[in-house]
């Protein structure tokens, strides 16, 4: 595709992400000046408390936010292209719900050694199991949607199905919660609020590794994703093996969203809003531009949300999802209104030009 000047916005977004990353390290219940943050990062901070706050608590959290935001955005981008639906996203299609079934099964229904002890005791291994379970749950839902999507073309119907899957997951989870021990339920509920701060430094490589695999798969699918923009039949006549390309792309989306959901809980809205924002920023539909673009937009939004969640200061932290919803819901609502308006005018257009005989 013709290259539009996409370097400048990429650099600007990267700079914004870096600035927010540093701000995220500085802001919190204990305010640390930027110089102190940098000294701590360089391991030459005069204040051991600052150093420990920055390196042990805030750095993993900021890295998690950046990674998770980017991964959710790219996952949403893939889903929107594959389903040709601007409202598709990890949460609107019920993939977050699928991941929560996986997590609920691991946390709540695990044997006597399960639950909190399972997570606390096994450290990164426990989280790996959790990530695997969430990814499996995410993929199961995606697979289901894929089957339905073959028969249902309508975007709204797909979203309703996503909603129904969400309810289904919700009811399964509440059954598990009802029969689970209070301790395990506490762990599970904590997970559902969504947070970037639960990931510790030794768990980061697991999250990062899963996301890296997801990105690698995504980059391999860049070319067919572009061909899918104009429909599956169009892609097929261009020599794309559509089925395989679609499964590879959706596997990438499930791994990206599943891993993030496992570690950070079901993070809402980012997956839909970030790719939409990226398209508008870059004024492009080319995935070679949009994949890095959406990842950066996602990282920026996630870091910004994390900073806002520290706003009360003095020890109290707002949960992540309500903040993202406050920002994300209006964006999605405006997209939906604009989308249905455009759809309406298109329908009128083709009716007026009906063809005889």
């Amino acid at each position: 595709m013709k290259k539009v000047s996409s370097i400048l916005p990429l650099v600007a977004l990267a700079a914004a992400a870096l600035a927010l990353f540093l701000a995220d390290l500085a802001i919190g219940s204990v305010h640390i000046p930027l110089a102190g943050v940098i000294q701590s990062l360089e391991n030459r901070s005069p204040d051991p408390v600052w150093k420990s706050i920055v390196l042990v608590f805030r750095l993993p959290k900021a890295i998690t936010a950046a990674l998770a935001g980017g991964a959710l955005a790219v996952s949403g981008l893939i889903l929107q292209t594959v389903f040709r639906n601007p409202l598709a996203g990890p949460d609107s299609l019920g993939i977050g719900a699928g991941a929560s079934i996986g997590v609920a099964l691991v946390v709540l229904a695990a044997g006597s050694t399960g639950g909190a002890a399972f997570l606390a005791g096994l450290g990164s291994a426990g989280y790996s199991a959790l990530a695997l379970a969430a990814s499996a749950g995410a993929f199961a839902v995606l697979f289901l949607i894929l089957i339905v999507a073959r028969r249902v073309e309508n975007s709204v119907t797909l979203l309703i199905i996503g909603l129904l899957i969400g309810y289904l997951a919700g009811s399964l989870v509440s059954l598990l919660v009802y029969s689970g021990s209070p301790q395990k339920v506490q762990v599970y509920l904590g997970w559902t609020y969504g947070s970037f701060s639960a990931v510790t430094a030794d768990q980061l490589p697991v999250l990062g590794g899963a996301i890296a695999i997801g990105y690698a798969l995504t980059l391999g699918a860049t070319k067919p994703l572009n061909a899918l923009l104009l429909g599956e039949r169009f892609a097929e006549t261009l020599g794309v093996r559509v089925k395989g390309a679609r499964y590879r792309a959706l596997t990438a989306a499930a791994i990206l969203a599943g891993a993030v959901t496992a570690f950070c809980g079901p993070v809402a809205f980012l997956g839909i809003a970030a790719p939409q924002a990226a398209r508008r920023v870059f004024r492009s539909s080319d995935h070679a531009v949009l994949i890095p673009g959406a990842a950066l937009v996602g990282a920026v939004l996630a870091l910004a949300a994390d900073i806002v969640s520290q706003a009360p200061g003095q020890g109290s932290v707002l949960p992540l999802n309500p903040i993202l919803a406050l920002v994300g819901a209006p964006i999605i609502l405006s997209l939906f209104i604009r989308g249905s308006r455009a759809q309406g005018s298109r329908d009128r257009g083709s009716r007026a030009q009906g063809n005889v005989p």
Binding site: T222, K223, N226, L230, G239
Partner: protein, 340 residues
């Protein structure tokens, strides 16, 4: 004009059966033999539900044949990989998709997709071919326009440009004139014929526009309600009555002498004779009479005569001792003279 190819036939179907697989399902149509050579413009027509799209999908491998074979450039479709197939046949289907920020150039550049590397980068020759394809369909200057902002006709042309850029010996277009207004439809027909005759492509084109099909096609492929395929020069199929058999309904019928469809109701049913100088005024009087369901008789018959002339630069008509000016007045007069 036409330059028949010396190479392998771009498209050949032998004893092809098409339809949907399933227990207890009969093939929609079987025993289809079909050849489309380079430089040949074949137009597929047929009533709704006759199986035009199913046939086209089967010919390009988007749907498996139930039996028989399809050969693209001498190789059986089954032996051609999906990637290889995209270098032998380029298709234009009328799927409507949200093209987002794709420009006309982007859409046309998809034609190079089968030839580009894994990052889909266009080489200078690719880009030049894309530019030439856009110019060939008459969209030069609109390369950077967003595809979604084009008119329906321009959009169809951009998709044809994409098919040209794909550089295949066979072009298959499924109803490219649907949703288009009359001038845009003629343009697409013209373009397709130029691609066949001057570009040396084999072009297969399905349409509901029989009038244009009869004017432009080298070969007419006619699918009737019984899903039988007849093929031949459009004139042969018109004269043999095949077109009439395929399309005639209760309310309209194919008029062999004019090559168009007419209402089956007879209307006024008056017999008249036209007298006056040859020219557009007399021709259009004939069309008016046809529209009203009158029969135009040869000179010397018993029918009442309409005298056509020009009075003060306006068409004038004399009928039964009365003189009227303008076609609407003539129509009114004819209705007054209704036999009932």
């Amino acid at each position: 004009m036409r330059a028949p190819g010396n190479g392998p036939l771009p498209l050949r179907a032998k004893k092809l059966a098409i339809g949907w697989k399933g227990r207890g399902r009969e093939p929609l149509s079987s025993g289809i033999d079909l050849v489309v050579d380079s430089g040949d413009f074949a137009v597929l027509v047929g009533p709704n539900g006759s199986g035009k799209s199913t046939l086209l999908r089967t010919l390009v491998g988007l749907q498996p044949a139930l039996s028989g074979s399809v050969e693209l450039c001498g190789t059986e479709l089954r032996r051609i990989s999906v990637e290889e197939r995209a270098t032998r046949v380029a298709c234009v289907f009328t799927d409507r998709a949200d093209s987002g920020y794709l420009s006309v150039f982007d859409v046309a550049a998809f034609g190079r997709y089968p030839y580009t590397d894994s990052r889909n980068r266009l080489g200078p020759e690719d880009a030049a071919l894309v530019e030439r394809s856009i110019a060939a369909v008459g969209l030069a200057g609109l390369e950077d326009r967003r595809f979604s902002e084009l008119s329906d006709g321009e959009r169809q042309k951009a998709l044809v440009a994409r098919a040209i850029a794909q550089d295949c010996p066979l072009l298959v277009l499924d109803e490219p004139t649907a949703f288009l207004d009359a001038p845009a439809r003629v343009e697409i027909f013209h373009l397709a014929r130029v691609l066949a005759h001057s570009g040396g492509k084999a072009v297969v084109f399905s349409t509901h526009d029989i009038d244009q099909a009869l004017r432009y096609a080298d070969t007419l492929l006619l699918m009737d309600r019984g899903h039988r395929l007849e093929k031949g020069a459009p004139e042969d199929l018109a004269v043999s009555g095949a077109i009439g058999r395929a399309f005639d309904g209760e309310s309209f019928r194919f008029d062999v002498s004019t090559g168009s469809f007419r209402s089956a109701e007879r209307g006024i049913g008056l017999k008249v004779e036209l007298v006056g100088p040859e020219g557009p005024i007399k021709d259009w009087t004939g069309r008016l009479l046809e529209r009203l369901g009158c029969t135009v008789c040869r000179a010397g018959s018993e029918a009442s005569a309409i005298r056509v002339s020009l009075l003060d630069d306006r068409p004038a008509f004399e009928l039964g001792g009365r003189l009227v000016q303008g076609y609407s007045e003539l129509a009114r007069l004819l209705e007054e003279l209704l036999p009932d």
